[in-house]
């Protein structure tokens, strides 16, 4: 049995659809239930649904053999997991945004950055030698500059609408993020056949999508 941890929320439906195409299907009854741990129709896979930031935790500890989670979350967690496959789902960008884009170059003293991604933000500005004060928030980050809590934000952007509506402009793109298949190091060796089957099936689906 292979346990797959899936990020609840944004990525959940895409991940389930992709797995179904790869032959790992949840029954309608299972999908309708509110259980956080489910078995697929074949009984070979167990799904667990957890918060995005917890997916790398379950996988690194080997409680889940693999997981589906965004690259943004992986970069922030610094978990020691393998990431063999880009699933191409939930594509978005991790950006620096501000009301006035020039603030980044003007605030030589100390730039205040509000974000849910304090590790990524810290290392992004760190490599540029820009001194920053990171203000860790857990949501509605776009509010911070308008209210004067910060000069800029680092956040995930899909369409850019939320930024626009809060008067923010993209200053720079830190990186792209898509849903990734992550695998526990020990599972990769000790359950190599099962993991190999799953990654091969997913890879075929993704290549099919790209070919269209």
């Amino acid at each position: 049995m292979i346990t797959i941890a899936i990020s609840k929320g944004r990525m959940q439906d895409d991940a389930i659809a992709l797995l179904a195409e790869a032959g790992v299907r949840l029954s309608a009854a299972a999908l309708a239930s509110r259980k956080l741990a489910l078995e697929d129709e074949s009984g070979n896979y167990r799904f667990i649904f957890v918060k995005p930031a917890d997916v790398p935790v379950y996988v690194e500890h080997g409680i889940a053999d693999c997981g589906i989670v965004g690259r943004d979350v992986l970069l922030e967690s610094a978990a020691d997991v393998l990431l063999p496959l880009d699933l191409g789902i939930a594509r978005c960008r991790l950006v620096v945004a501000a009301i006035d884009p020039k603030v980044i170059t003007r605030a030589f003293g100390m730039l205040r950055v509000a974000t849910k991604y304090s590790r990524i933000a810290g290392s992004h500005f760190g490599t540029r030698g820009i001194p920053v004060e990171i203000i860790s928030l857990s949501g509605s980050v776009e509010l911070a500059p308008a209210l004067g809590l910060s000069d800029a934000i680092v956040d995930l952007v899909e369409t850019g609408r939320t930024l626009q509506e809060n008067g923010l402009k993209v200053v720079e793109i830190i990186t792209e993020s898509t849903g990734r298949l992550v695998v526990n190091r020990a599972s990769y060796q000790l359950k190599s056949d099962e993991i190999g089957q799953l990654t091969d099936a997913l890879e075929r689906v993704i290549q099919g999508v790209n070919a269209k």
Binding site: V57, V59, E60, H61, G62, I63, A78, A79, D80, V81, L82, L83, P84, L85, D86, R180, V183, N184, R185, A186, S187, Y188, Q189, L190, S192
Partner: protein, 369 residues
């Protein structure tokens, strides 16, 4: 200050778990002894500079540091190998080769909280074979590690993956990369991040065949067929020489009927600065991270003024005990055949106690109540 609280990454061992831990340690040490390894005890505190030399700067930085009275930096030992290499090159410089040394000793490293490897104190069961190189010594330590894992009761639930760092070094050496780019490439292979690896390789001006060989490393995990595929896809001379060394090893492993316990993993490129040839990792069902690692480090003793071949490995006792404790819950009790001696008159009580102890009986001094 809350005195009931333990610092993070520290723990107690009590009762059955403590007994299991001791018995696993005893088994490992008896296997080392069975292959003629001599136990060595090294200081718990040593100069930080020793570990910087022995482990490399990055690894040594995880150590707990303190200052000696003369201002020099000391460290709680984050590994044992550094110290063993030093003793081999100095105190044992004139001793007959090969040296076969083993140890069971706690090491201390800072760990980030909430990660799978959370312990900051780990006992390493380890050995070093110093002064003679060649495939016989590679096989000796591989088989020794496998014997320990079998004898402590892991049966078929472990896997030792083998690689030769010459494969990566040969392929990447061609590219003349700076340290940062090389490390970036290494990390992408280590995490099997095929997407980013592909992107990175695309940006380098290299031939399509070199690009393909490097990208293929993340796919080359398995048994014999992996080595054959590697020979087909790799053109670099040094890398191919390293692959053929693995083929020779694998032939013997197969002839001995041990191929179930071993696997080839060409994507295992961690600790490259440290190892110079064979490198291997140990995985056990029920633990998410590697419970052991080893390999050849022919450059190590040169740090202490005497270059000679060396190979060794460590197993993490605490992780092994954790998984064994979960699988066989009944690991003996402490209460069998105990003679309870009531405390009546003290001389009589303890005369009886000593009498029974002379016969090696297990006793417990009871109370009057």
């Amino acid at each position: 200050m809350l005195l009931s609280k333990l610092p993070s990454g520290m723990r107690y061992y009590l009762g059955a778990e403590a007994r299991l831990r001791r018995s696993v340690e005893d088994t490992a040490m008896s296997v080392f002894e069975g292959w003629s390894y001599e136990e060595v005890l090294t200081p718990s505190v040593d100069y930080y500079a020793l570990f910087e030399q022995g482990m490399g700067v990055t690894e040594a930085q995880s150590s707990f540091r303190l200052t000696d009275s003369d201002g020099r930096m000391l460290s709680l030992r984050p590994d044992v190998t550094s110290s063993v290499a030093r003793v081999a090159a100095t105190l044992l410089a004139e001793s007959k080769r090969p040296l076969r040394l083993c140890y069971a000793a706690p090491v201390f490293r800072q760990q980030q909280q909430s990660h799978a490897e959370w312990r900051r104190e780990n006992t390493q069961l380890g050995c070093e074979l110093i002064g003679v190189g060649g495939s016989a010594t590679d096989l000796e330590v591989l088989l020794l590690a496998a014997e320990i894992l079998q004898r402590i009761g892991l049966g078929e639930s472990f896997c030792v993956t083998i690689n030769d760092v010459g494969i990566f070094n040969g392929l990447v050496g061609e590219l003349n990369l700076d340290d940062t780019s090389r490390e970036h490439l290494r990390r992408l292979i280590d995490t099997r991040d095929n997407t980013e690896l592909g992107n990175t390789l695309k940006q380098l001006s290299i031939t399509a065949s070199t690009r393909q060989s490097i990208a293929s490393l993340t796919q080359l995990t398995g048994k014999r067929d992996v080595l054959e595929r590697a020979q087909a896809v790799i053109a670099n001379k040094d890398s191919l020489a390293a692959v053929s060394k693995l083929v020779d090893l694998w032939n013997v492993i197969e002839s001995l009927g041990l191929e179930k316990a071993f696997e080839v993993d060409l994507a295992d490129v961690s600790s490259l600065d440290y190892y110079t040839g064979l490198s291997f990792k140990v995985y056990v069902r029920g633990v998410g991270y590697r419970v052991g690692r080893g390999g050849r480090y022919d450059g190590l003793t040169a740090n202490f003024g005497r270059a000679e071949p060396a190979i060794g490995f460590v197993l993490n006792l605490d992780s092994l005990v954790e998984v064994l404790g979960r699988t066989n819950a009944s690991n003996g009790t402490n209460g069998n055949d105990v003679q309870t001696i009531a405390t009546s008159e003290l001389t009589n009580t303890f005369a009886e106690a000593l009498g029974r102890r002379r016969k090696n009986e297990k006793i417990r001094i009871g109370s009057n109540e």
